[in-house]
Amino acid sequence: MSPEEANSLAQGVLAGERLALARALTQVENDTPAGRLILSETFPHTGRAHRIGVTGSPGTGKSSLVNLLARHFRQPPAGQAPRRVAVVAVDPSSPFTGGAILGDRIRMRDLTGDPGVFIRSMATRGSLGGLASATAGVVQLFDAAGFDVVLIETVGAGQAEVDIARLAHTTLVVEAPGLGDDIQAIKAGILEIADVLVINKADHPGVDGTERALRSMLEMAHPVRHEMHHHGQIETLHAYAAAPDPNAPLWIPPVLRTIATEGMGMPELMAAIARHKDYLQQSGDWQRRERFRLQAELDTLLQEALVARWRETVSAGVYQQAVDDLLRRKVSPHQAVSQLIGPA
C-alpha cells in the first residue's frame, strides 16, 4: 500500500469512516509499513478511550459479558449519554497450522446493526499471554476513531495475563463455579491483575464456595497494587511517576456475581466499572498507568531497534563465534555480551 493510501486511510479513521477503519486495522494487524504510518498519524488523537480488559478461563462467559457490557454502554440509564463501543476479541491461532477459528462474535449478535458498535476478532498469531502482538495497535486505532470504550477480550488462558493488565485501564477477571477442584485452578497471579472480579454463571451450583475461596485468596494477595512485570522484573508503577499521594484511597477489587445469560448483576458490574474509572482519575492512577504503558512500549521498540542496528555493525562470523563459545562453555552468556558490545 502506498503512503498516500495509508494517509487517506488514517484520515478516514479519524473521520470515523467504518470501511477505512476496517482496512486500517488490517494494516496494523499485519504490521505493514502502511500500518505503522497509520499508527503514527493517528497517535496524537488518542488517549481518551476507557480500555476495559475481560480475561478469565475458557468458557467462563467472557464474550457473553462483553455483549452485555456493550449493550449497557449503548443504552445507559436515563440521564446518561450512550457511549460508542469497540470490541477486540482475541482467540488463539493453531501453533501447527497458523490458522484460527474466531468464534467470539457468536455471543455478540445483539450488537449488530448498531453504528455505535464495532467488533473486530483477532488471532494471537503466535504470541503468548492472551493477546496478539498487534492488539495494542488495534486498540489505539479504535481510540483514535473516537470510540469511548474499548472492550478487550483475551484468549483466556486463566494464567496471569500481564499484557492485558498493562494495556487496560480496568481489568475484569471472570471466573465461574465448578471450574476444576476448585479454586486451585485460580492462580494467585490472575487475582493480582483484577480490578473487578466477576463470578459469572452464578446460576450454577457451587457459587457460594467459589465466592468464599476468591475472597480469601484476595485477602492474601498483595497489599501493594500496581506492581507489574516488565521484562521479567517487578517494578512498581509508582516508580515512574510523581510520588503517589499517600492519602489516596487504595482500590479494593470488588467481587460480583453475574448471570450473563439472564443479564443478572449487570447494573452492579457497570457501577463497579464506573467507580474504578473515577478512582483511576482521582488517584492519578489513570496517568500513571498510561505513562507506564507507553514507557513499556517505548522500551520494547528501543530494544528491537537497538539490537537490529547493532546486528548491522557486526559480521555474522563474529556473532556465530560467540554462540559457538557459549555452546562449548568457553564463556557465559554475560561474558559473551561483554565481549560483543564491551563491558557495561
Binding site: 467504518r18 470501511l19 476496517a22 482496512r23 486495522l25 488490517t26 494487524e29 499485519n30 504490521d31 505493514t32 509499513p33 491461532s93 493453531s94 497450522t97 497458523g98 490458522g99 484460527a100 477459528i101 474466531l102 468464534g103 462474535r105 457468536i106 449478535r109 449488530t112 446493526g113 464495532f118 467488533i119 473486530r120 476478532s121 488471532a123 498469531r125
Partner: protein, 133 residues
Amino acid sequence: MTEKKIRVLVAKPGLDGHDRGAKVVARALRDAGMEVIYTGLRQTPEMVAEAALQEDVDAVGLSILSGAHMGLVPRVVDLLKANGQGHVRVFVGGIIPDEDVAALLALGVTGVYGPGTLTDVIVEDIRKAVLPA
C-alpha cells in the same frame, strides 16, 4: 511484516438450524492456515455484510440448507458491494439445484458447493480466488 493471512467469514444465514456443514468447512479452512470468523446460526444478510466489513475479510462462505439461497445470496452480494466491499469473494454451500447454481455464478458468486464436496477443493478455490496470482 507478518505474512498475509487469508481471513474468511463463515456464516449461516437463514432459519434452518444445522451448522454441522459450516463447522466442518470452518475447521478445514483453519487447518489450511486461514483465519475463520465464525458467526453462528440465523444470520440475516445485513448481519453477514456488517461482520464482513468490520472484520475486513477476503472471502465470505455462506452455508444455506433451507432452500432460501435465491433470496439470501443476492442480498449479501448487493450489500457487500454497497459497503464498498465488492472485492470480497462469496462462496456458497448447500443443496442447490443446477439452474440456481448458474444464476448464482452469474451474480458474481465465486463457487457453489453441494453436499459431499471435498473440503480440499473449497480451500484451494478460496486460495486461488483471494491470493494475487
